[in-house]
Amino acid sequence: MKINSYRDWYWHILLLLAVVIQLWPLLFMLSTSFKTMDQIFLSTLNPLPAKPVIDNYLYVLKNLPLVQYIVNTLLIASSITLAKIITSILAGFAFVYYEFSHKEKLFNTLLLTFFIPITVVMMPNYLLISKLGLLNTPWGVILPQLADGMGIFLMRQSMRNIPKPLLEAGRLENASPWVILTRIILPLIKPSVIAMGIVFFINSWNDYFWPLLILHDKPTYTLPLALQMFISAEGGSEWGIAMAVAMLTALPPLLLYLTCQRFIMNTFMQSGVKG
């Protein structure tokens, strides 16, 4: 549809600038994590350390139970993701498939939860979790995040987009709601589910604040919490090491994204994690 393609060079310059702004800090993080303390200060800007060293990483691996942290984070992030996906699908289905009184009101009530800022519910939830004796356990982190108003909204949206006749064809076959959900709806909204799952996963992998309140025991830490040990106020900042931990924290979601980049982009574009 565009005829004179050679004319858009100025757009490319603008966009490349944006790309540089977005990627430079990450590149910087990567290169700093391979620098010695000297190099960090002497050749701050040089993205390629003269002699890349992996000392920082070795230090981290030696001094941190990194595998433990990764397992913790993975456990928490994937439980939350899975739980949110399941509850969202079930609730979304109920809102699409069934007719009951006050449906819209109930839906809005659930959706509104996504507007509630975390600090507002932080204190009571913290007290509740501590009463339940779940402080310092992954369950304390997971429990309040089993459902997500946004997820319900997204699932209802994508289920609504399924042509009604498909569901009706199922009903004519005398299929139970469960069969309709699992055999017809789920395969159809798979891309949306996956896109939503990826967003949930990245968010809970990176979650910092709630775990910070709940997890105090070093062995229960998640990666972002481990990260902050390295910039602890009185200890001074070992930047190489901090960047190494930052890299290690950022790496799993980054790899997840880079490997299925095309898929993620496409599902985002089609299913649109959007309103």
Partner: protein, 292 residues
């Protein structure tokens, strides 16, 4: 379609129970706590009536906090809404090639945690040794003390969060842009419209529902995100310069251990949110073009 309410209740239960228990119940508790003076551990809770609210409303920090919050939101709206909106138009409708590359490259920071981003920028923005300072001094500028100037600090925190969230919002907007029927744009091209007219008269109205959504999440998520960098980098300082509606609740609750005041702030925050939502549904929704 179907009227089996008990069946639907079964499907709804997991989500509804979780959300009621961990979102609405706490809200009620906040109300209760806000009428008390308590430090979270002592066995006795003192009922103080409206005192917490009165103190809160009469303190001069309230104005500061509200101003900071507004300033922060403005920065976010620029960086995470207006700017991506323009770029998404270019990516979706003004490029022949490489649009996939731009989309996926710009998205990458979204995968990074805010904790990582905070540390990263703490280093990058170091006013003496940081790389940005080196660049600035190379062109003869002196680096401001990013995290120590009231007014500047909240903007910088907004920019850090903006950096992280930018790509995600961009993708949402590009998706909406791409959904604008090709024919509409072609019809406009036949009229010889300029890029700006096309954007202003066709694209904006056609994408307004997604744009509104992105605007709302920019504000709502933005206020969730702000906690991490403020807590890691400034603790609300300098002189409450980076404190805001959301952080102040944390500060009173978990730093000063004044549960009552924290809850009062929480309720205030909630009220302001409610106001925002009302404005959104009553005013903005009316101006938006919805497909269906």
């Amino acid at each position: 379609m179907n009227r089996f309410t008990w069946q639907s209740a079964l499907f709804l239960a997991p989500a509804a129970i979780t959300l009621l228990l961990f979102a609405y119940w706490p809200l009620l508790q906040d109300v209760w706590l806000s009428f008390h003076s308590w430090n979270m551990v002592s066995p006795t809770m003192k009922f103080v009536g409206l005192q917490n609210y009165l103190q809160l409303l009469s303190s001069d920090e309230l104005i500061k906090i509200l101003l900071n919050t507004v300033l922060y939101i403005l920065v976010l709206v620029c960086v995470n809404f207006i700017f991506p909106y323009l770029l998404s138009f270019i990516i979706a409708h003004r490029l022949n090639r490489f649009s996939f590359f731009y989309r996926s490259a710009l998205f990458i920071p979204s995968t990074v945690s805010l904790a990582v981003a905070s540390i990263l920028f703490l280093w990058i923005l170091n006013p003496l040794a940081g790389p940005l300072n080196i660049i600035l001094s190379a062109i003869g500028l002196e680096s401001p003390r990013w995290f120590k100037e009231s007014g500047l600090v909240i903007i910088v925190i907004g920019l850090i969060i903006g950096w992280k969230v930018f790509g995600y919002n961009l993708i949402l907007l590009v998706a909406a842009m791409v959904d604008v029927p090709k024919e509409l744009i072609e019809a406009a091209r036949l009229e010889n419209v300029s890029n700006w007219q096309l954007f202003r008269r066709i694209i904006v109205p056609m994408t307004s529902s997604t744009a509104l959504y992105v605007f709302v999440i920019t504000v709502v998520f933005g206020l969730q995100y702000v906690l991490v960098p403020v807590n890691m980098l400034t603790q609300g300082g300098p002189d409450q310069g980076s404190s805001n509606l959301v952080y102040i609740v944390y500060q009173y609750g978990f730093v000063f251990f004044q549960t009552g005041k924290a809850s009062a702030f929480a309720i205030l925050t909630m009220l302001i949110y409610a106001l925002f939502l009302i404005v959104k549904t009553k005013v903005l929704d009316k101006k938006v073009h919805y497909e269906n």
